[in-house]
């Protein structure tokens, strides 16, 4: 009996970087990618300011992880279903969502598409093939397996993708997802955004596996490790694995190795647990200056263009959040909308009772979010 490694042609140990001979986006797409990465960075900064000044209750940022969002979505089709975690606002923005719609969500305003039902950063853009975000860790991973089975059943060559963190690889649904997709050769891509921390727990304490990508092997899912701070490496690998899945050759687990440059959330104090000195090396690998240097060197962008772009993007973010900030909260009827397709009569009656007796009262303000 011989042991074959043919299903695992790429070692999970090699960190895949940019291949200068590989597939490249057009200059127009490169510019769009860079602009979106800048937008995400300014979006984070603005969100944190809004949170610190008490205008929104909470935020999670994606600082440092921009390339994992932009590099993947740029290599996908607009009809490939995305099942995100809570650090992927770049996907709907790439697909045409405007900043104002994100801003309405974080303010929970009357114009929030989710009717103010969820905490900030839990977006929903069904028409952009971006499924609503849950706070629960890892539940979305297996949804991608299901959407991939749907593509198989419909006979399309769409793929379904999902994003999740390093901590999620310990959650039940990660294992359910890879079991299903591996068994059925489903066209699913599993993007494990390894940002090194699950709140306070360092990835080295999360698993006994040497690499998170190793977890794909046992499920028969092709597994790769990618430099998640190199947007072009992410782009090229995603493109190759998506094409492979579209050809019916099965799912892939892509460990995108990156680093969470901010605390877990606006309520987290990372000084308690972040390994001393670890951050410095990662600041040097910040995906935005890296990509910017590449574009300048290739002549895709000039320095004056970079400066102008930054001013423009910052102004766009500011404008969007101003509009949302001035929008009132949803009306009370939204409390009972969206529970079922039709509102149960008893539920309407309970709300009507509140409307009759409590509208206009000054109700106690809820406390602050501690996590």
């Amino acid at each position: 009996m011989t042991v074959s490694a043919s299903s695992q042609t790429q070692s999970t140990q090699a960190l895949i970087g940019f291949d200068p001979q590989g597939e490249m986006p057009s200059n127009e797409v490169l510019l769009k990618m860079y602009t979106l990465m800048l937008t995400l960075r300014f979006w984070d900064e603005r969100s944190l300011k809004l949170q610190r000044s008490g205008r929104i209750s909470f935020c999670v940022t994606t600082k440092g992880e921009e390339a994992t969002q932009v590099g993947t979505v740029a290599a996908l089709r607009a009809t490939d279903w995305v099942f995100p975690a809570y650090r992927q606002p770049g996907i709907p923005l790439w697909r045409g969502a405007n900043l104002e719609s994100l801003a309405h969500q974080i303010f929970g305003s009357a114009k929030d598409v989710s009717l103010g039902h969820q905490m900030p950063n839990h977006y929903s853009f069904h028409h952009l093939y971006y499924a609503s975000v849950s706070s629960v860790i890892g539940t979305q991973i297996v949804h991608a397996s299901g959407a991939a089975l749907a593509a198989q059943a419909k006979g399309t060559d769409d793929v379904a993708v999902t994003y999740f963190g390093d901590g999620s690889t310990s959650a039940n649904d990660f294992h359910s997802a890879l079991t299903v997709a591996g068994a059925k050769k489903a066209p699913a891509l599993f993007f494990c955004v390894n940002n090194h921390y699950a709140i306070s727990l360092h990835v080295s304490q999360q698993t006994g596996a040497k690499y998170l990508a190793d977890k794909g092997v046992g499920y028969g899912v092709k597994a790769l490790r990618v430099d998640g701070n190199d947007v072009l490496a992410v782009y090229q690998t995603t493109l190759a694995m998506a094409e492979r899945a579209r050809r019916g050759e099965g799912p892939a687990l892509l460990e995108l190795v990156t680093y969470r440059l901010n605390p877990h959330s606006s309520s987290d104090d990372d000084a308690r647990y972040r390994l001393k000195g670890e951050m410095d090396g990662w600041i040097d690998k910040d995906p935005i200056p890296r990509f910017e240097a590449f574009l300048l060197e290739k002549g895709v962008l000039s320095l004056p263009q970079v400066d102008a772009l930054k001013i423009q993007v910052e102004a766009d973010v500011l404008e969007a959040t101003k509009i949302a900030q001035e929008t009132p909260l949803p009306d009370w009827q939204t409390l009972i909308e969206g529970v079922y397709a039709e509102i149960p009569a008893t539920l309407q009656a309970d709300l009507d009772d509140l409307l009759a007796h409590e509208q206009g009262l000054s109700l106690p303000h809820p406390g602050a979010f501690p996590l």
Binding site: G116, H117, M119, L351
Partner: protein, 345 residues
């Protein structure tokens, strides 16, 4: 190791030093109970997500790992099923596990372990085996946590025979009930109303003083109306009662159930037989909520004493909202209106 729990009367703490006359928060009280349990019982293990180096996202386990080491205060991987399943194994092997589920909203990956395994081990083995453990979890709204950081899922667990469900409403009860939970021969789901973690403060005995699981707490005695509540709703009910007693000259009894399962039926019935009126207040969705069970007990065993229909004040039958949380959560004005309705029937 096979040490047994030190009897509570002999429990002393060598390391906690504070003025017993200074009020402390509920989260401090919980921390102190865990500290003293770890100190007095070498079999106690505290574990969960972020409980070690960071001291827990609510700081309930602050300082415990530094004091008792990484073998007894364990940062676990992100797997609630793994945490509770491990607790089961630890308990069977003779330890006293204290597992933290970071938010009650995230207990569901462990639901199978709790409902199928932890709660049923004693029964299915005919009492041959048991897995005493404490599962601590913050629950409830009022912190702008939206759909997935605000839920009150106690009724899923009070519908599960074999696990006790305990909910404190004051710092002193939090400490005393948690100490008792640690001595319980059966598993205890200890749900902490996170809105009360940091306020209000209260006086708490420094020495470990267990408060028995089971008996409800009489918050205030009254003769016209019985209000049954628990957790964060106790303060809300008190605020409403205080105002109504001043304005309408009525006398309202408030009972904090504290142990939801097994239920203190005797206290509920005694109160209703005295006042003839009953109001249940809970923040979970109304239908099938814990207050519904109290209503059923009253309807079965005390209906002839009732002078007015019983009433529930609860959350709407919806998931927990974000933007309009202040409308959703029962508040004193709403509770006062319900009190007036029952009293004015």
């Amino acid at each position: 190791m096979n040490a047994t729990m030190t009897p509570s009367s002999q429990m002393t703490s060598s390391l906690i030093e504070r003025n017993p006359e200074t009020p402390i928060t509920m989260v401090q009280a919980i921390n102190e109970a865990l500290f003293q349990a770890l100190e007095s019982n070498p079999n106690v293990i505290v574990f969960g997500e972020d409980v070690g180096i960071s001291g827990g996202v609510f700081r309930a386990t602050e300082g415990l790992q530094a004091q008792f080491g990484e073998a007894r205060v364990i940062d676990m991987p992100l797997t609630e099923a793994g945490i509770i399943g491990s607790a089961y194994g630890m308990a069977v092997a003779g330890m006293t596990p204290v597992a933290e589920i970071q938010f009650a909203d995230y207990i569901f990956p462990a639901f199978d372990q709790i409902v199928s395994e932890v709660a049923k081990l004693r029964y299915r083995s005919g009492g041959d085996c048991a897995c005493p453990m404490v599962i601590r979890t913050p629950y409830g709204g009022g912190i702008r946590g939206g759909t997935y950081h605000s839920q009150s899922p106690e009724a899923y667990f009070t519908q599960t025979p074999g696990i006790k469900v305990v909910i404190p409403s004051t710092p002193a009860d939090a400490k005393g009930l948690l100490l008792s939970a640690l001595q319980s021969p059966d598993p205890v789901l200890f749900m902490e109303p996170k809105r009360l973690y940091r306020s209000p403060k209260g006086l708490v005995p420094v020495d470990p003083t267990p408060i028995p699981l089971g008996p409800a707490r009489l918050v205030q005695a009254g003769k016209d109306l019985s209000v049954f509540c628990y957790g964060a709703m106790v303060d809300i009910c008190q605020a409403a009662a205080t105002k109504l007693q001043e304005s309408d000259g009525v006398s309202i009894e408030i009972i904090d159930l504290r142990t939801l399962s097994p239920i203190d039926e005797a206290s509920i019935l005694a109160s209703v037989r005295k006042t003839g009126r009953a109001l249940m207040v809970y923040e979970a969705p109304k239908t099938g909520g814990y207050g519904s069970e109290i209503s059923a007990i009253i309807a079965e065993k005390a209906v002839e004493y009732l002078k007015a229909p019983i009433k529930r004040v609860a959350g709407l039958d919806t998931p927990y909202p974000y933007s309009l949380e202040s409308v959703y959560m029962p508040h004193p004005v709403r509770v006062m209106r319900a009190m007036q309705e029952v009293l004015g029937f």
